[in-house]
Symmetry: C2
Subunit: 607 residues, 2 copies
């Protein structure tokens, strides 16, 4: 019998049937277990607590785990394997799919390190500790109280042989950022964050080489106050400590990600952090009320780039500066700015389109000359929210659908379906439109009207009566697409298309002039381009080969800014250069929106 492992997590329980280590099984299930050594039994980060029959501890486990841990049933997921029915409780479920990408930016490390062998203090040489460093280094450093507090012990514990980390403030001089015993010149790290409404991603980067050391993704801890920005803003505005709650939750999430990433890296050697996020996440992370952002006439409190000490915000990095990339506007944030830079839109001679579909759709169109951006309130339908059987792109989600003689579905992790995620929804809708099951107006046709026009097994799946027809994707477990689901998706895709059309109208271009379309975000990575065109989410005339998924472009932009002062200056210039508007306030919005709702007519024959 194949061993059967059930991973129990916040997202529900997920079952895998395979003979492999728990780490491999978790990955198979699309789940993230912290591991820094890549499963080589070195980092001891993948501790888990399997309940059920498992293999005996390996020599590596006996070495890395304490006797108490082993007696208590703690195991390394990279070593232990199930022998039968086993349950593993996970602290948090994180989907980790898509490859690691290295950013092509020449590192300009914000921090410089120097190893000093200082003369010992003596009655005839009684300079203060700080002056001693300054004298040996020969440069006029200054230091803030937190560094001074650690200075005497750092120097004396290491016999006055120490490495200094120096931060260049330009006109404001050089700051002694940290003093570390011994020679630590080789080590300097940074963390680039992308703070999304739903999830937060952090990338731990070597500031000297640009190499990614670790990454971690966590659900934004603000979830208890609603899934979307409006619920969060409502809490911020109405609860007595609303802003403080949300700030603490955001910072808490950053700190959990820092802990995830800093397995083999000392957090004291992380000197720089960059943060991108939409305007609401930006304000909340800084503890600023979003009241002005969400109430007309919609202005930010500040769109400026902002650099503050991590400790000032409660971020658990004692020596780091944190740089918040600037906002474009009250509803077009630093995340869109990061997407523009990651897709090189602002340095392109040809016109490019970038669309980042999250809870809101942000999009930018333009080139080196001029860039327009807007926020399209598509709603969360593409993330599976407000859809009868919608779910996040986690194990068990239907992510691909084909309709020919019958319906064929694929699920993440190849397990029985638990629901349907964004890419599956678009696939399903596209297929239903192509087969004429959904008409161009968005009506899910009654079974009688489809009789004889679609294969019998497909016809059977159209169930219901009157105005409440639905389409069965899976009989058991039952997963359906309802008329209402179709309407939600229609509004969402219509909003995106409307946004693209209005950007084109503003820029006075037609589709032939768009050289490329970048679909950013997890959605952009997973959606089938043919299906996206098939439902008319993008202008039909755009050739499919010009469309590409570019992954977490906002995160990429954050990483670029982390590594390079040149990029940060570029971001600051760009933020003031981009023309932005809120889609629903555009004068053409209503007309274009209604035109954009229609689905394309189905092809007359075949496909």
């Amino acid at each position: 019998m194949t061993p059967r492992t059930t991973f129990i997590s916040r997202g529900g329980s997920q079952v895998t049937e395979a003979d492999a280590t728990f780490l491999e099984l978790a990955r198979l299930a699309g789940l993230y277990l912290p591991s820094l050594c890549g499963g080589r039994g070195k980092c001891a980060k993948c501790c888990c607590h399997p309940r059920g029959p498992v293999t005996d501890p390996s020599p590596l486990e006996t070495e890395l785990l304490s006797r108490d841990e082993l007696a208590g049933g703690v195991r390394l997921a990279c070593q232990a394997r199930p022998l039968g029915e086993v349950e593993v409780a996970l602290e948090e479920e994180i989907l980790e799919k898509g490859g690691y990408t290295e950013v092509a930016v020449t590192p300009e490390p914000p921090v410089e390190k120097a190893f000093l062998e200082l003369p010992l203090p003596a009655p005839h040489d009684d300079l203060s500790d700080l002056e001693r460093i300054r004298q040996t280094l020969g440069r006029p450093l200054w230091a803030a109280p937190p560094v001074l507090r650690g200075l005497p012990a750092a120097l004396r514990d290491a016999g006055f042989r120490a490495t200094v980390a120096i931060w260049d403030h330009g006109a404001a001089g050089e700051e002694l950022l940290a003093v570390e015993g011994g020679d630590t010149r080789g080590r300097a790290y940074g963390i680039a964050f992308d703070v999304g409404t739903t999830s937060v991603v952090g990338y731990l980067i070597d500031l000297f080489t640009g190499r990614e050391i670790a990454r971690s993704s966590r659900l934004n801890g603000q979830q208890p106050w609603g899934a979307d920005v409006i619920s969060r803003a409502t809490h911020a505005l109405e609860a007595p400590r609303g802003v403080a709650d949300l700030q603490a939750a955001a910072i808490g999430t950053l700190n959990r990600i820092i802990a995830d990433c800093c397995g083999t890296v000392d957090p004291r050697e992380v000197y720089y952090v960059t943060v991108v996020g939409n305007s609401l996440m930006h304000h909340l992370a800084l503890g600023i009320t979003p009241a002005t952002i969400v109430v007309s006439p919609y202005v930010a409190v500040s769109r400026d780039p902002l650099q503050v000490k991590a400790t000032e915000l409660g971020i658990a990095l004692p020596n780091a500066w944190v740089y918040f990339l600037p906002l474009i506007g009250a509803y077009v944030g630093a995340d869109t700015l990061a997407v523009i830079m990651a897709t090189d839109l602002d340095e392109s001679d040809e016109i490019r389109l970038a669309v980042d579909i999250g809870t809101n759709g942000e999009m930018a169109l333009g080139s080196r000359g001029r860039i327009l951006a807007c926020s399209a309130p598509a709603g969360p339908a593409f993330e599976g929210a407000e859809i009868q059987h919608g779910m996040r792109a986690a194990v068990g989600a239907i992510d691909r659908v084909r309709i020919q003689e019958d319906v064929r579905i694929w699920t993440i992790g190849d397990v029985p379906p638990r629901g349907i995620c964004g890419s599956g929804l678009i696939d399903a809708l596209d297929q239903m439109v192509r087969r004429g099951i959904v008409d161009p107006g968005g009506r899910l046709l009654p079974r009688p009207k489809l009789d004889g026009k679609i294969p019998p097994k497909v016809l059977e799946r159209v169930v219901g009566q009157d105005h409440s027809w639905e389409f069965v994707l899976s009989w058991d477990p039952r997963v359906v697409i309802t008329q209402d689901d179709v309407r939600q998706l229609q509004l969402a895709k219509g909003t995106i298309l409307c946004g693209v059309r209005i950007l084109m109208e503003e820029l006075k271009i037609d589709t032939t002039q768009i050289a490329s379309v970048s679909l950013a975000g997890a959605f952009g990575n997973y959606v089938d381009k043919r299906s996206a065109l098939g439902i008319g989410m993008l202008p039909a005339a755009i050739p499919m080969d010009r469309i590409q998924g570019v992954g977490n472009a906002a995160g990429q932009g954050s990483r670029m800014a982390l590594l390079s002062r040149t990029i940060r200056r570029r971001a600051e210039t760009l933020a003031r250069k981009v023309d932005y508007f809120e889609l629903s306030k555009h004068p053409s919005f209503e007309d274009v929106f209604i035109e954009s709702l229609a689905f394309p007519h189905p092809p007359t024959r075949g496909d």
Copy 2:
């Protein structure tokens, strides 16, 4: 019968018998009660809770106090009077003696204020709040998160008519320090602190005019960990949270003084703070271990001037920057630097001597050309510590003594003696030396040896036997000077004299070249110059008219730095220019110290 009021405070209970308001009675008793309006019944700061028969509430009290307060017995000390036996419990006893001095410094306010009438945000004018301010002001301000957090409400509550406080960081640009609704251009305050080992003084100053608004003095909250720097350092080094304890106590004291001073002033309108203190107080207030200061080879962690946000140190001034004046060395602090500036020693063409006698004696000798400073470990005898009947200069302390046919004593507050304070001790010792009761070697002569040489009533006061003779200053209550007290004072005065002599030796000058001697600190204000010369605390050849008490010169220096950037730059230059050494490490120390211990020979006849 004259009403009798007993003030009960940390320092003990003090009785006054007079018919006056409690505020006047407290002042009579040398006690400090907070009052900002000077007793005019306007500030309602002098609330007290007298127990016993008192006058009925005045119309002003009925107006300023709530019905509940009046019912509960709360009264304004400036209005209410005792009618019989009354007790008043005071939160803290603080001696307030000596006049207010205005500092002659041309104010260069560190903060600039501008009143702005901003255009309202609108769909076509959607700048962020910060950009709106910048645009109207026409200057490139930046702002830190705490100001951004308050910005939207500050602007909107005042209909976008607001005053901005701007801080010039020089090369690092201009900071938006605060935004205040309405026109607050006239108001900008600062607080100058002198953080002493024993007591902390704060002066609330109008930054535009230099005028003193209020002052308050409190015992340093570090008292529970010992009266002297060594006990404090021991706690810092040995207790697990020692440094944190002492920092919290120091900051707590500053915050109490801020509360005292900010009766009619909004703490949000205090933008600047200066701090002087000895090196230990400086390090502890910043949360830096004093380990390197108190252990050979005695170095500071940093002697640099330091400017930090008040909130970063827990100081209850949301918008203020705090400037710590630089230290001269590990044992010659910013307080000595302040004394040098306040006595203009560093800008004088003639050679001056400044001596600040606190728990340690710090002294500086020199002129515009060269300045030498040292710390003389005189010990706390001059503050009445380790003296049999010694006490602080509070009500009931003998502060003046004359010996002729009998002993005559004066006490602070003209009440029966409770003990003897520094100026009284020096007076008593001087008189005993003059009458030959104490010989030049410091021996309190046995009564038999004095018989016939001093008046009979004085002779009666020499009591005891063998080596334990003592001199009775007051029979009831009994206050005596013991042989051991004489030895303590001899060591203390010897250390001061030794310090002055070694400074003179180093500077290769004799007493004729010293143009003036400034005695700083409370001690310097109250000590009788003739007595100080009489016991040989200063070189005998210095003419008395060149000696002057200059009050709290360290506090004066702090006030000067608060008002003027020129003075702060002067302090920074001066700190590096002063030559300093620890007296006890000087090669001539032992020889000169032994020579300095002797008391002058008594005049052969008369006085």
